[in-house]
Amino acid sequence: MTVIEARGLRKAFGATIALDGLDLRVEEGRILGLIGPNGAGKTTALNAILGLTPYQGELKVLGRDPWTERDQLMREVCFIADVAVLPRWLRVTQALDYVAGVHPRFDRAKAEAFLARTDIKRTSRVRELSKGMVAQLHLALVMAIDARLLVLDEPTLGLDILYRKQFYDSLLSDYFDHGRTIVVTTHQVEEIQHVLTDLMFIQRGRIVLDCTMEAFEARYQEVLVAPEHLAAAQALRPIHERQLFGRGIFLFENADRAQLAALGDVRTPSIADVFVAVMGNQTGAGQGAAR
């Protein structure tokens, strides 16, 4: 079943076009990473999906129109913006009371069990907690909600490496199952590469790459080329190349694996490297067209 379906989504802030006819389709049970540079329209797209901002075009989330039915939609959708959105005056017990009081699908015992594994005191206010603890608290609240779609917009922004790792581990082991869908944006792409099932690159309000992670791994290869094979590697038209400690690292798209293996070690590239290559080429093409 389709969880999110967007067609021709448009949104402009004055002269700035944030979403430029964005098409997007997310099926149930997927973990989608939405990757893009700053100002590419990631947050605007998520805000539209969450009913936080009006838009033009067609958008259905779990069969509902998010802009007109936000409060109904939020019974089945959860989101974590970043760690700064829990009000600083809120006490942990108040957070539990409030969410239990307004959310029909919140399981308080589950949230309490999750909090019991942390150092968070029930009587603390959010302002007294560290950034990592606030993220844990928010995650505890969200994981206790039996939602069908979870949206994460830079959920680990400003957290140290330990909390970031815990965050995604908890999410995968305690929360995710195939009846749920997760959409996540982050700049720390390398941390979620092994988590994702699907990947989208967004640039200037449009989706420029949309594939499953299997397709990604089949499509892109990275080769560490020994100095003597450099010319041969260049002849195969890599989409990107860089130098590291005197060795060439070449990125290929839809190349023949056997040919690549002859040049050096073949491995799956990181999303970040493909991102740089694809976005770099896009930017160049865009500038070329503009001239």
Partner: protein, 289 residues
């Protein structure tokens, strides 16, 4: 699995968690006055003694004075709290980005705005009522203790102080102010939802500018008088204002018929509804600032 929810109730509770001043400020105002009154009871027997020579009207005015002062000051405190509460209610949540958290829960913008409007319109008046009645009972009990054994003084006191009548009049006055000031609170909530910064300036400067403009352009002050009427009309319409020389019993001073037939009351309620409706629409579109 679903459990029954009470979004409105919890939204009001959440306002009280964040804004303790809603009940702390009236309590603190009453506490300061009660402390002052407690000190003044040292001279109470002498003052009551001196009253015996006066006519009943003057006696009543003097004896009920502390009761009225405490009611009036708690009232004014609550009004100030209400104004500042409204100006921050839909602004603060955008400033600290917590609006993203509140909007991530299944609570509609209408429920959120109405819960906030209920603080000045319902919760604060009830707080004032409870605090003032408790303070009146406390003053009466304390003065009774001090005057115990002072036969005529005690009798004078109990003749003029009628806590239950005052309580009824107070409840009426609170209901009248709530209805009369509803458009004011609606306006402040709308400004608070709309303004990007300094909601207080956006709320106060335009009316001030209009008043000054009118003064300079036409040498008149209709707008200023109209504003004063929007603030004080609940009293001039809801009570017999002043009958010369005689003290009016609290219950006899109430004129609910006159208040309810004042077109300004109903026009004000219509505007309050429009402002709140607009505030709901604005909150739906607003993002953190």
């Amino acid at each position: 699995m679903t459990t029954p929810t009470r979004p409105f109730y919890w939204s009001v509770r959440r306002e009280l968690w964040e804004n303790k001043s809603v009940y702390v400020a009236p309590l603190a105002a009453a506490a300061v006055l009660l402390f002052g009154y407690a000190i003044s009871t040292i001279t109470l027997p002498r003052r009551v003694q001196a009253l015996q020579a006066l006519d009943p009207g003057r006696q009543s005015a003097t004896i009920t004075m502390p009761y009225n002062v405490i009611a009036g000051l708690v009232f004014v405190t609550a009004f100030i709290v209400a104004v500042f509460y409204c100006l921050d209610a839909l602004h603060g949540e955008r400033r600290d980005r917590s609006i993203l958290f509140w909007k991530s829960l299944p609570v509609s913008d209408r429920t959120a705005v109405l819960a906030k409007a209920s603080i000045p319109l319902v919760v604060l008046p009830l707080v004032v009522f409870a605090v003032v009645v408790a303070a009146h009972v406390f003053i009466l009990a304390l003065s009774t203790l001090v005057l115990a054994g002072n036969g005529p003084g005690l009798a004078t006191l109990w003749t003029h102080v009628r806590v239950s009548q005052t309580a009824v009049a107070l409840l009426y006055a609170l209901a009248a102010t709530s209805l009369w000031h509803a458009p004011l609170y609606g306006w402040l909530l709308l400004v608070s939802a709309w303004a990007r910064r300094s909601a207080i300036l956006w709320a106060v400067l335009p009316p001030l500018a209009i008043a000054v403009f009118e003064r300079i352009a036409f040498q008149s002050s209709y707008f200023g008088r109209w504003l004063a009427w929007r603030l004080a009309g609940w009293f001039t319409q809801g009570f017999v204002t002043r009958v010369k020389g005689t003290a009016v019993e609290p219950l006899a001073a109430m004129t609910p018929g006159k208040l309810l037939t004042t077109p300004g009351l109903w026009a004000g309620l219509l505007f309050a509804a429009l402002f709140l409706f607009a505030a709901v629409r604005v909150r739906r579109r607003r993002e953190p600032i």
